[in-house]
C-alpha cells in the first residue's frame, strides 16, 4: 500500500495552523479572526486524525468529534457575541473593542 506519507499530512496541518495564527494576529475584522480560529481547530483535527490512523488508535477520532462539537458551540456563542458587539458599537474592528482596559 503506497500511502501518502504521514509527514505530508502533518506538514499540511502545521501550515493550516500557522495560517490560522497569522490570520488571528494580523486581521482586524472580527469575523475573519473568528474564521481563523476555526482554521486552527481544523488543523488540529487533521493532525488528530492523522495520528489516529497512523497508530491505529480510535481515541484520536473521538477527540476530533469533541473538537467539532466544541467548535460548533463556539460558533453559536461567538457569532451571537459578534452580533451584539456590532449592534452596540457599529464596528467590527477588533482594535476598537478594548473596553476591558480602563
Amino acid at each position: 500500500m503506497t500511502a501518502v506519507p504521514i509527514s505530508w499530512y502533518l506538514t499540511l496541518s502545521a501550515v493550516l495552523f500557522v495560517l490560522g495564527v497569522a490570520g488571528f494576529l494580523f486581521r482586524r475584522n472580527i469575523i475573519t479572526v473568528f474564521m481563523s480560529i476555526e482554521l486552527m481547530l481544523n488543523a488540529v483535527n487533521l493532525s488528530f486524525v492523522t495520528f489516529a490512523y497512523h497508530n491505529k488508535d480510535v481515541s484520536g477520532h473521538l477527540f476530533t468529534f469533541f473538537v467539532m462539537v466544541v467548535a460548533a458551540a463556539e460558533a453559536a456563542v461567538g457569532l451571537a457575541i459578534i452580533l451584539t458587539v456590532y449592534k452596540n458599537r457599529s464596528t467590527l474592528n477588533i482594535d476598537e473593542v478594548n473596553s476591558m482596559k480602563n
Binding site: 488571528f24 473593542v97 473596553s99 482596559k101
Partner: protein, 613 residues
C-alpha cells in the same frame, strides 16, 4: 480535703463580679466579694481542723501540668504549718479589708471593678502560698503582681496612678526575671520543681549551685518585697486606693518574698553567702527606708516607707537563720501595718481625700475611734511591750545580735526611728490644732469594725499567736539565748523615739522646723528620698529610654523593620507598574502573548526532553 476550694472561691467571686458586676447593685457586689473571701477563710479553718496534729504536710495532686522528658510538673497544692500561717493571714486580714472597703469605696466609681480585682488578688495570693512547687508559686507570684498593677492604677484617669502602676510592674519585672532564672537553674540541677524533691536533694548539692539559686531567688524576693535596690516602686504604689495599700502593699503581697525565702530555707541555709546577702540587704533597707520615713508629709508615704523598713526587718530575720522570727514579724506586721493603713484611709476618708499631714491635726476628738485604733497600731510597731510588734522585733534583733552585733545596733537605731516617724505621724494627725478646711466626719461602722478587730490583734497578736513555737517543728532550731539587756536597749530605743516625737511635735511645736533649718543638707537629702528616684532616672531610665528611642525605635523599628516592610511593598508596586503595561486591553496583543508563551513552552519541553535527538 479539697484544698483547691480555697483559691477557687475568690476566683469565682472575681468571675461573677467581673462579668456581671456592672449590672449588680453595690450590696450584691460586696456580698459576692466578701462572701467568697469569708468562705475561703472558713474553708481554711476547716482544713486546719481536719489536719490533726499539723505535723505532716497535706499534699494534693490534681493533674500533671507539664510533662517533658524527665521533667514532670504537677498542679499540686500543699499545706504545712508555714502555709497555715500564711493562709490565715491572707484570708483573715483579706476578709477584714474587704469589709472595710465597703465603707471606703462607697463613693468611688468602678465599685464592682475594685472588688473583682481584689478577689482576683486573693485568688493568686492563695495560689502563691498553697503551691507545692516553684512553678505554681510563680503563677501566684506573677498573678499578684498583675493585680497589684491593676489596683495601683485603679484611678486610671489620673496620670500619676497609671505611672505608679507601670513603675511597680516594670521594677517587679527585674525581680521576676531573677526568680525565673532561679527556677530554670533549679530544673537544670535538680530536675524537678517540687519543693519536697528539691529540698531533699539540696542538702547534698554543691554549695556554689545553691548559692547561685539562692541569690537569684533573692533578686526575686527583693523585687516583690521592695528591698534595696528594687524598693522604689512601693512608695509610689500608694497611688492606689488605701484598702489596696493595706492588703497588697503592706499585709500580704509584699511579704511574698519573705514567705518564699522561708519556704526555701533548705536552699538558703546551705548557702551562707546568700544568707549574708539577705541579712545585709534587709538591715540596710530597714535603716534606709526608715530614714526617709522620718520627714515625709504624706501620711500614706510615711507608712509606705515604714513598710519597706519593716520588710527589711523580716529579711534580717530570715537572713540570720531565724526563719520563724521573720515569719513572726510578717504576721504581726500584717496586723499593725494593715491597721495603720486602714486608719490612714479612715482619716483620708474623714477629710474627703486630704493626705498631707500638714493639713491635719487635732483630729483626736473628731474621729475618736480611728484615733484609738491607730494608737494601738502605733504602740505595736514602736515595739512597746507587751504589744505584738515588740515580740517579733525582739526575736529578730536577738537573732541579729547573735549573727553580727553591728546588725543589732543598726536595727536598734532603726527601731528608734520607726517609733519616731509613726508617732510623728500620729501627733501631726491627731494632736495640736486642726489646720485643714474640710469638716472631718467619723467613718461608717463597716470601716470601724475591721479597725477594732485589727487593733485587738495588734495589741494581743504577740501573745495570741506564738509563731516561733508553732513553726519550731518546721525550721531548724536556733538557739538564741534570752538576753534581757538587749531587749531593754531596743525597747528604750522605741521609747526614746516616741519621746523625741513628742518633744518635737507636741511640747515644742516649732522645734521640727528649726531643726530642719539647722541641718539643711541632711534634711533635704532624706526629704528627697536620698535622690534615689533621680539617680535611677539618670542611671537607668534615661539611658534605656534614650537607647530605645535612638537605636530601637529610630534605628531598628523605623529603619530596619519599617524599611524592609515598606521596601517590599514599593518593590511590588514598581514591578506591578511594569507588568501593568502588558494589560493593554487589545485582544490581538493578548493573542501575541499567548503565542509567545506557547512557543516558549514548546521550546522548554523540547529542551527538557533532551533537545533534538
Amino acid at each position: 480535703m479539697q484544698l483547691w476550694l480555697i483559691p477557687i472561691l475568690p476566683l469565682a467571686g472575681f468571675l461573677i463580679n467581673g462579668i456581671f458586676g456592672r449590672r449588680f447593685s453595690k450590696s450584691l457586689v460586696n456580698t459576692v466579694a466578701i462572701g467568697s473571701v469569708v468562705l475561703a477563710f472558713a474553708w481554711v479553718l476547716r482544713v486546719i481542723a481536719g489536719m490533726g496534729d499539723l505535723n505532716t504536710a497535706l499534699n494534693e495532686h490534681y493533674f500533671t501540668w507539664i510533662q517533658s522528658g524527665a521533667l514532670s510538673i504537677g498542679c499540686d497544692l500543699a499545706v504545712d504549718r508555714l502555709t497555715i500561717v500564711m493562709l490565715l493571714v491572707v484570708t483573715g486580714i483579706g476578709s477584714l479589708i474587704h469589709v472595710y472597703s465597703i465603707g471606703y469605696m462607697a463613693h468611688e466609681g468602678g465599685y464592682y471593678r475594685f472588688f473583682a480585682y481584689l478577689n482576683l488578688f486573693m485568688f493568686f495570693m492563695l495560689v502563691l502560698v498553697l503551691g507545692a512547687n516553684y512553678l505554681i508559686l510563680f503563677v501566684g507570684w506573677e498573678g499578684v503582681g498583675l493585680c497589684s498593677y491593676l489596683l495601683i492604677g485603679f484611678y486610671f484617669d489620673k496620670k500619676f496612678a497609671t505611672n505608679a502602676g507601670n513603675k511597680a510592674f516594670i521594677v517587679n519585672r527585674i525581680g521576676d526575671f531573677g526568680f525565673s532564672l532561679a527556677i530554670f537553674y533549679i530544673v537544670k540541677n535538680f530536675g524537678s520543681l517540687d519543693f519536697n524533691t528539691v529540698f531533699r536533694q539540696a542538702a547534698s548539692a554543691p554549695e556554689w549551685v545553691l548559692t547561685i539559686i539562692a541569690l537569684l531567688l533573692l533578686v526575686g524576693a527583693c523585687g516583690k518585697s521592695a528591698q534595696i535596690p528594687l524598693y522604689v516602686w512601693l512608695p509610689d504604689a500608694m497611688a492606689g486606693p488605701t484598702p489596696v495599700s493595706a492588703l497588697i502593699h503592706a499585709a500580704t503581697m509584699v511579704t511574698a518574698g519573705v514567705y518564699m525565702t522561708a519556704r526555701s530555707w533548705v536552699v538558703f541555709t546551705h548557702a551562707p553567702v546568700a544568707m549574708e546577702w539577705v541579712a545585709c540587704i534587709g538591715i540596710v533597707t530597714a535603716f534606709f527606708a526608715a530614714s526617709i520615713g522620718l520627714v515625709q508629709n504624706d501620711i500614706k508615704k510615711v507608712f509606705a516607707y515604714s513598710t519597706v523598713s519593716q520588710l527589711g526587718y523580716m529579711f534580717v530575720g530570715v537572713g540570720c537563720g531565724a526563719f520563724s522570727a521573720g515569719v513572726y514579724h510578717l504576721v504581726t506586721h500584717a496586723f499593725f501595718k494593715a491597721l495603720l493603713f486602714l486608719g490612714a484611709g479612715s482619716v483620708i476618708h474623714a477629710l474627703s481625700g486630704e493626705q498631707d499631714m500638714r493639713n491635719m491635726g487635732g483630729l483626736r476628738k473628731k474621729i475618736k475611734w480611728t484615733y484609738m485604733t491607730m494608737m494601738c497600731a502605733a504602740v505595736a510597731i514602736a515595739g512597746i511591750p507587751p504589744f505584738s510588734g515588740f515580740f517579733s522585733k525582739d526575736a529578730i534583733l536577738l537573732a541579729a545580735h547573735q549573727h553580727a552585733p553591728w546588725m543589732y545596733w543598726l536595727g536598734v537605731v532603726t527601731a528608734g526611728m520607726t517609733a519616731f516617724y509613726v508617732f510623728r505621724a500620729m501627733f501631726m494627725t491627731f494632736f495640736g490644732e486642726y489646720r485643714g478646711h474640710e469638716h472631718p466626719h467619723e467613718s461608717p461602722p463597716s470601716m470601724l469594725i475591721p479597725l477594732v478587730i485589727l487593733a485587738v490583734l495588734s495589741l494581743g497578736g504577740g501573745y495570741l499567736f506564738k509563731i516561733p513555737d508553732f513553726l519550731s517543728a518546721l525550721f531548724p532550731a536556733m538557739e538564741v539565748p534570752e538576753d534581757l539587756s538587749l531587749m531593754l536597749i531596743s525597747v528604750a530605743a522605741g521609747v526614746a523615739g516616741i519621746a523625741v516625737a513628742w518633744l518635737m511635735y507636741i511640747a515644742r511645736p516649732g522645734m521640727a522646723d528649726s531643726l530642719a533649718a539647722a541641718f539643711r543638707l541632711p534634711y533635704q537629702l532624706i526629704y528627697n528620698k536620698w535622690f534615689v528616684d533621680e539617680i535611677y532616672d539618670a542611671a537607668v531610665v534615661k539611658p534605656v529610654v534614650g537607647g530605645s528611642r535612638v537605636v530601637l525605635w529610630k534605628g531598628v523599628d523605623s529603619g530596619l523593620i519599617d524599611g524592609s516592610v515598606n521596601g517590599v511593598g514599593s518593590a511590588a508596586r514598581n514591578i506591578g507598574s511594569l507588568l501593568r503595561m502588558m494589560q493593554s486591553g487589545n485582544v490581538r496583543s493578548y493573542a501575541t502573548w499567548v503565542l509567545l508563551g506557547s512557543v516558549l513552552l514548546i521550546v522548554a519541553m523540547w529542551t527538557a526532553a533532551g533537545g533534538i535527538r
